[in-house]
């Protein structure tokens, strides 16, 4: 199912944008710039998802990654100090030898993957060409039956509905497990990010450690005592 001519134009634009933004993510000196380039890379990949008919995943990608995860990244970048990196006092890459070897490794990896993709997709495409005509006829027939959109230029697909159906039919147990995973992640990140004072006021510190730390911060013992009442 190759893309049509306009779609292929957009494919090339977004593919090149995604790759360049990814490269700039890795090479930017400032971590905030890295985050912004990563956002543009993610949006370009979302556009590629739309081109391959996965509108729901594209929406999820923008909502979750760009709206959630990247905001979290920006918060953390601003919490930790990046001044030294910006002013050029710190080296942003590892030392020369590690960089050289990892780039050689990446080059070999890219050769291997491209070879495998070339070889594998030739076989796959031969298979798909066999019944392509029949399927495109079938699909255009189905297209006729779909409702057209308000602008009248395209038709509203039932793709998202189908995704939801098979998500709840075949993957309902993994879906529940994913919800538990997210709960664990929320609780875990709250636990990890607590300060010593917050831990003391929840009566959650080792008594020996508390005695040690109390010489530096006498407030801790008061918080500990308050929590036990």
């Amino acid at each position: 199912m190759p893309l049509s001519s306009y779609e292929s134009l957009f494919f090339w634009i977004f593919a090149i944008a995604a790759i360049f933004a990814g490269l700039l993510t890795v090479m930017a000196r400032n971590a905030v710039h890295s985050a912004l380039f990563l956002i543009s890379s993610l949006v370009s990949v979302a556009a590629l998802f739309v081109l391959s008919g996965a509108e729901f995943i594209a929406g999820v990608q923008i909502l979750v990654y760009v709206g959630g995860v990247m905001v979290l990244f920006l918060f953390v970048i601003m919490l930790v100090n990046v001044g030294a990196e910006e002013s050029g006092r710190e080296e942003i890459f590892n030392n020369q030898r590690q960089v050289t070897f990892s780039l050689i490794f990446c080059f070999l990896l890219v050769l291997g993957i491209l070879y495998a993709v070339n070889k594998g997709s030739a076989v796959l495409l031969k298979d798909s060409l066999l019944n392509a005509e029949q399927l495109t006829e079938q699909q255009s027939e189905e297209n006729q039956r779909l409702k057209s959109s308000a602008t009248g230029t395209s038709r509203i697909t039932k793709q998202t509905e189908r995704v939801a159906n098979s998500l709840y039919r075949y993957a309902s147990l993994p879906f529940e497990i994913a919800s538990i995973l997210l709960l664990v992640a929320i609780v875990g990140s709250v636990m990890l990010a607590r300060t010593l004072r917050q831990e003391a006021s929840a009566d959650d510190v080792d008594p020996d450690l508390l005695k040690d730390e109390a010489t530096r911060d006498p407030e801790l013992l008061k918080l500990e005592a308050a929590s036990q009442e």
């Binding site: 893309l3 292929s8 494919f11 593919a15 995604a18 790759i19 990814g22 993510t25 890795v26 971590a31 890295s34 985050a35 990563l38 890379s41 990949v45 590629l48 998802f49 391959s52 008919g53 996965a54 729901f56 995943i57 999820v60 990608q61 990654y65 959630g68 995860v69 979290l72 990244f73 953390v76 930790v80 710190e90 590892n94 590690q98 990892s102 780039l103 490794f105 990446c106 070999l108 890219v110 993957i113 070879y115 993709v117 070339n118 997709s121 495409l125 798909s128 019944n131 399927l135 189908r162 995704v163 098979s166 993957a171 994913a178 995973l181 997210l182 992640a185 990140s189 990890l192 990010a193």
Partner: protein, 136 residues
């Protein structure tokens, strides 16, 4: 191994040679198929791997991991599209798996950034080569 690399190079040159004379290349540029999506996914993956291996800033390393997971997602979606074009009944499994990859990526980012904050509070650094508490 050298033999393998050599055969890969020969393969690429052969491809280039056959494409330069005919309309095959023009055709594949005008109508990108499955393999183009896979190549974009592979390149994003490699960029992510290079970022993880070469950068010193732990937050940028996390971003590179996001890039890697995103490349995997792109491959899932491309394969799902290909299976739809062959009329496979389970074609949407790729899209469902992509949802789970996004869920895991979100959980990983939350936990990882929590670790980064705890680390910064105790060690005052975000450079991975200075985080050597387990080294002796």
């Amino acid at each position: 191994m050298i033999n393998c690399i050599f055969s890969t190079l020969i393969f690429f040159f052969q491809e280039a040679g056959t494409e330069s004379n005919g309309s095959v290349m023009v055709q594949s540029v005008k109508h990108p198929d499955l393999s183009k999506f896979l190549v974009v996914g592979a390149l994003l993956f490699i960029i992510g791997v290079a970022g993880v291996l070469t950068r010193r800033n732990i937050i940028v390393i996390f971003m590179s991991i996001e890039l890697i997971l995103n490349a995997a997602n792109l491959n899932f979606i491309a394969m799902s599209r290909y299976l739809q074009s062959t009329g496979n009944a389970n074609a949407l499994a790729g899209q469902i798996f992509a949802v789970f990859v996004i869920v895991v990526a979100a959980a990983e980012a939350a936990i990882g950034l929590g670790i980064v904050i705890a680390l910064y509070r105790n060690k005052e650094t975000i450079w991975v080569d200075e985080i050597d508490l387990l080294k002796w």
